[in-house]
Symmetry: C2
Subunit: 278 residues, 2 copies
């Protein structure tokens, strides 16, 4: 089986490494000449090129470009593919992509491997990056069964934990557990930085410990990623933020009313609920 990978960064490079271990033939495309040379020299791919034509004859193609490039990339290759070639992507938002991509190519099926590191690029690529990590596959009603099964069999080789969901359910779920946390965590940092008493702000910075560090981590991350989540998952994120603000208002209200029983019952509930996510 010939596998095409477009975009040889952290995700594309890591997929290539795992699939080569399985003796699949890997055709890699990168915009950068240097990345192509590196990938081939280090045996991460069998063939590499800056030219998309390299992957026209492959059987299954992973589009691992930044999210904004997924649709243009698919549009550029579809006139040249064999009808049976399956195309998938690894974008972290699915509904807006899957709709257009499925219109462009019948054998398209969305996917979202939920693994990553703080590093980027081919140098950060590693074997078994996806092992034990969730990999959400998001077929629609029109996705051919054959495409679903082929992708599923391939993802099994990564030893990922596979989930199936509709693109819309996927996007709602990631809004809640991935995109909402970024915004509430960023709001925390901005709130503390807005403290006008400089002595309080300086003390806060000095004594901040693991509680603050953990809660602020994702809000202090890559701004491009946060912005991308907001742009591509805008409606779901907005709804999550509005729901969140309601809960926050309940807490503020309990505090104002000194309704300690109600506040304790919320904190009991959240303590009991958190293990459901672990």
């Amino acid at each position: 089986m010939k596998i095409g990978i477009i975009g040889l960064g952290l995700i594309g490079g890591s997929l290539a490494k795992d699939f080569r271990e399985e003796n699949l033939e890997i055709y890699g495309v990168s915009r950068q000449e240097e990345t192509c040379i590196n990938a081939q020299k280090r045996g991460i791919v069998d063939y590499a090129s800056k030219d998309l034509s390299l992957i026209y004859q492959t059987d299954l193609i992973f589009i691992c470009t930044p999210i904004a490039k997924i649709i243009p990339t698919l549009a550029a290759i579809v006139p040249h593919l064999k009808p049976e070639t399956i195309v998938t992507d690894v974008g972290s938002v699915k509904a807006p992509l899957v709709k257009t991509c499925s219109e462009l190519w019948t054998n398209f099926i969305g996917g979202h491997p939920m693994a990553g590191t703080a590093e980027k690029g081919l140098d950060a690529a590693q074997k078994q990056l996806f092992k034990n990590a969730p990999y959400v596959i998001t077929p629609t009603e029109t996705t051919p069964i054959q495409a679903i099964q082929t992708l599923e069999n391939l993802v099994k080789k990564l030893q990922s934990v596979i989930y199936f969901a509709s693109p819309e359910e996927h996007d709602q779920a990631v809004a809640l557990i991935s995109h909402l946390p970024v915004m509430i965590s960023a709001s925390l940092i901005k709130t503390v930085m807005g403290e006008t008493n400089t002595q309080v702000l300086e003390l806060a910075q000095k004594i901040a410990s693991s509680g603050f560090k953990d809660t602020s981590r994702v809000g202090g991350g890559n701004p491009e990623l946060g912005l991308m989540m907001a742009q591509y998952n805008r409606e779901n994120l907005k709804q999550s933020l509005l729901d969140y603000r309601q809960i926050l208002d309940q807490i503020i209200n309990h505090l104002e009313q000194e309704n300690w029983q109600a506040l304790e019952s919320i904190l009991d509930f959240t303590q009991n609920s958190r293990p459901k996510f672990l």
Copy 2:
């Protein structure tokens, strides 16, 4: 120097262990007979008793009880102390305690060692728990210099990083970096749990990864602690929550207006600001 420690839990027991290494004489009081026997048998203290009279003749007393018991404990011992005995506490909120305690005892000085573990009780006590951790000392204008210096010298033996702040500044700072994170983190858990589409909720629980786990950690912690923070630091926490809600509303607004430049500038700011807390 004779050190009295009232409350032989994680904090009191750990203080005792470090001070005994310094050849100070440790007098420990616990409400529980078993804890007294254990503390003495394991050499954590020199003397132990359920009776507060054990510490009447000591030179410096640490009140390490739960926060609600600090003022009643001080009130119970002050009629029996030598005038030069210094009393301090380890409560995580300072202004409401320090005011009353200073009225009850001139030689009172507030303190807050900011170390802990998830465990509680004497069995969790450990040497060097406070090493490299912040220890905030909160004198007021009327605190005797001698008391400040004596406590500072003692805390130096713990190898803590010592900060001085007014009780009010301390409480504002901990509202921002400790108590606010608990409430926004709990609100995150409750928001996600409020998802009415059960397929989305189940997927969210399955695919939640390190971002959600870190951001939800302190909101899934001990409800008693969270409640105590809210009760004792109510005004500061409320103000922090109101400031936080304003920032959140800005983000919601940028999202609604698709003002991506403004959102990116917030995320740039928070990325650049977070290292100031590390």
